[in-house]
Amino acid sequence: MSEPLTATKLSNSSEETAGSRRFSFRIELDPSRKDSPWWITILSVLLALVLCGIFIGANGMNPVTVYMKMITGAFGTSFGLTETLVKSIPLLLCGIGVAIAYRISVWNIGAEGQFLAGAMAATAVTVYFPGLPGYLTIPLMVLCGIIGGGIWGLLTAIPRTYFQVNELITSLMLNYVAIHALNYFVFGPWKDPKGMNFPGSPMFTEAQSLPLVGDTRLHYGLIFAIAGVLLYAFLIRYTRWGYELRLIGANPEAARNAGIRISRHILLVMLISGGMAGLAGMSEVSGVTHRLMYGISPGYGYTAIIVAWLAKLNPLALIVSSFLFGGLIVGGYSVQTIGLPSSISSMMQGAILFCLIAGGMAYKFRIRRNG
């Protein structure tokens, strides 16, 4: 009964396909392609710039002028360059932190909160031990910063390992908790009594501040950052522990078969991840602002996610990408003079991350002709 009906249908559809076949292309995954090369990364960033250019244009500005202004603002003057370096210190430290977590697929997006926790812990040293000499107080602040950030990281790791709670949500919720805690301190108990109601702790003394390089605002926190990167690179590549992390990252189930306790690694990695961000917080209060204050981070912890992704978790590339994003933040401030909001830099950050993912994946495809 249904035979002739199917047959007519068939001939129709076959003609259709025969016609379209000549010109049709197919896009499929090319298994031989894995990591995208550097030029894809650059293309992706350029694409992001073009996309943001549309929004800038919509605001009645010429995107090229704006970008030029940003570049000269960030890299063109010695003031801009040192500012960029100053911004790249916390980005690099937080970037190492999130990169190490991403290596084992722990999606820590709480670097912001861990940064604040570190900053608060370091400030606590100055508030409660105000008279200590520099050679004691700075190491103590470093230690407390790392521990503070590390504990904040553990608060994410413990629910994840023992209660199977998605670390993305926990780490993000803890960012808000940290912000409110910070506000409590700077509006409440730690508020500078001589500060004319400014929401911030008393200014740090010389002994509580990281030394500066020459006359610039650049501080010796840079050494922490560089040392952190080198240590991270070395640990991953040459140690047993680094091997275990690589294995967990490549195939967690196989790592379990090799006798590696993944939960223990998650705890340790989140402790380190948070610790790095905490160190960033310490170096920021002690080296740049010299006090704990309201709104101390312009979103370093979030930018660090993109820093790490742009660097593909590669230690040395982290240095480059944190420098670039430091420049992006400074460039964002510099275009305020021509009437654009500084949030232009966070818009560009998001667009860059989008394009990086798209570019990295698109590279794995290849267009084939059908037939």
């Binding site: 249904s2 035979e3 199917t6 047959a7 249908k9 068939l10 001939s11 559809s13 076959s14 396909t17 025969a18 090319d30 298994p31 031989s32 894995k34 040459y238 140690t239 047993r240 522990w241 091997y243 690589r246 294995l247 490549a250 195939n251 189930e253 196989a254 790592a255 379990r256 078969n257 090799a258 006798g259 590696i260 037939g371």
Partner: protein, 512 residues
């Protein structure tokens, strides 16, 4: 003349990137016959059938159905053309009921109240009964046994009015008794004028069930024969390409002292289901013990417990004179238990890492491989190089990601790692799954060599031939218990099949 063929596939080519899966294949099946597509694992049988069912599209070539050329671009097209396929890995949604699975994709009636569901359930039940296929229609799929799931799959194709039914390795998940029932159903379909194509690598089945046979080798279809004109021996020769060495069993020898003694073991699977129930097991030195059984009767859990991946609740495991640490992978490795896991790329190897990192898995803590927490990088590379040569692993370099290697080379790499530790016991789970005859032979030799060296081997496999060929003793696992034990020589397929189905010799259902 094309009228008598319901399917004609002409000069089909299918490439996956650089790999050619099907190389100018001509295949034709007559209306109303049971046609077997015979070939080893990985020769492209399933790929051919997936093109017929619209899962893949051919790179080039032509498909003619009932004399009309067709382009099958999607499973939906195939369905409209009356083609239904029962895949080896069932295409069922586990959280839905059998009836829901069967009506899935049906466009009619947007609104589905309780009445509609009831009517459909009755319809499905009637259809199933007609073809002698029984299963509960309103229970979720995950509660059904594998055999029942397959029946759901078959009814699904029938429900959609398929007159060409393709079954991909249908008996690999069935007990011999269930396989018999399946063949009955296939005869019934044939009697109603439906065309049945089944792919398989089992010669006995082909001879038992089919009318005509096409043999595939290395992506090409080499012969098509009538069953009446051929025999098992000829088919074997055509399939392998040479006279297949008659699988010879190992010479029996008297095993050594007990190595592994498992007593009254209770193990729970994820989500609290009891997977092993008072399980008893003993492996001696110099002995291969085969564990046969239908998938999901506790095999995976047994392997996991022995290798420390899963903890046990009750009972004891004594190994080499001492107690085994409960749930410690490191404890198992250090005690000398090697493990070839079920799915090598899923849990045995890290695909994106190179050979060095993959070989280091279990030895990186030893002082030969690392010192004071630092890896001895150059020594490890040299060591990798020597192991690769010793085990004849073909890889472009020691750093090339192992996912680029062929299945056989991956398995060799895995065996190199496991045997290199000089273990006392090898737990091998489906060690030849997905390998061709040559590579399987290599794996069998490695296992036999371990036995010769006085080591114990626990071979867990669904391939009954493999188990019967290699094992000194065969244990049959059913519902988390060893229900039968047979020595080499006294085991027959029929008897093992009875045990696998949970039946004693008397044919009574065992009380659980």
């Amino acid at each position: 003349m094309s009228e008598m063929y319901s399917v004609v596939m002409n000069q089909i080519v299918k490439r996956f990137g650089p790999v050619i899966a099907n190389d100018h294949v001509d295949f034709r099946a007559k209306t109303g016959e049971i046609h077997a597509l015979l070939g080893e694992n990985g020769v492209g049988k399933s790929t051919m059938m997936c093109m017929l069912s619209g899962v893949y599209r051919p790179t080039s070539g032509e498909i003619v159905l009932h004399g009309k050329p067709v382009h099958i671009r999607s499973p939906k097209d195939a369905m409209k053309l009356g083609i239904g396929m029962v895949f080896q890995n069932f295409r069922l949604v586990p959280n839905m009921t059998a009836a829901e699975n069967i009506v899935l994709g049906e466009a009619s009636s947007f609104w589905r109240g309780p009445n509609w569901i009831k009517r459909k359930q009755e319809e499905v039940e009637a259809l199933a009964r007609h073809f002698g296929l029984g299963f509960p229609v309103n229970r979720p799929i995950w509660q059904l046994s594998v055999g029942e799931q397959q029946r759901v799959e078959i009814v699904k194709t029938l429900y959609r009015g398929a007159d060409l039914i393709i079954l991909d390795e249908p008996t690999s998940v069935l007990t011999p008794v269930e396989a018999e029932q399946l063949f009955e159903t296939l005869y019934q379909m044939k009697a109603e004028g439906k065309t049945v194509i089944l792919t398989t690598h089992k010669l006995k089945e082909v001879m038992a069930s089919s009318d005509r046979i096409s043999v595939m080798r290395k992506g090409k279809l080499t012969h098509t024969l009538d069953k009446a004109d051929t025999n098992e021996r000829e088919l074997a020769r055509l399939m392998v390409g040479k006279e297949m060495a008659v699988a010879k069993s190992l010479e029996s020898h008297s095993p050594g002292k007990p190595l592994l003694i498992v007593e009254k073991l209770d193990v729970y699977a994820d989500h609290g289901r009891k997977a092993l129930n008072q399980l008893e097991l003993r492996v001696n030195e110099g002995e291969i013990v085969g564990v046969a059984g239908v998938a999901g009767n506790g095999q995976s859990e047994l392997a996991e417990v022995l290798t420390g991946l899963r903890a046990w609740r009750k009972g004891s495991i004594r190994f080499n004179g001492g107690e085994l640490h409960n749930g410690s992978v490191r404890g198992a490795i250090e005690a000398g238990i090697a493990h070839v896991p079920e799915n090598r790329m899923k849990s045995g190897l890290a695909g994106s890492l190179g050979a060095v990192d993959n070989l280091l898995f279990k030895t990186y803590r030893t002082k030969e491989r690392s010192r004071f927490g630092f890896l001895r990088t150059s020594a490890n590379r040299a060591w990798t190089q020597s192991l690769i040569e010793q085990f004849d692993v073909k890889t472009p370099s020691v750093d090339a990601p192992v996912r680029q290697l062929s299945g056989g080379n991956q398995q060799k790499l895995l065996f190199a790692r496991e045997i290199h530790q000089d273990p006392l016991l090898m737990v091998a789970v489906h060690p030849t799954q997905g390998l061709d005859v040559g590579a399987s032979e290599g794996v069998h030799q490695l296992l036999a060599r371990m036995r010769g060296e006085g080591k114990g081997v626990l071979l867990i496999s669904e391939d009954l031939d493999e188990v019967m060929q290699l094992s000194d003793r065969i244990l049959v696992i059913y519902n988390g218990q060893m229900v039968g034990e047979l020595a080499r020589g006294e085991a027959s397929r029929e008897q093992i099949g009875m045990y696998m189905a949970g039946l004693r010799e008397s044919g009574e259902e065992q009380a659980v």
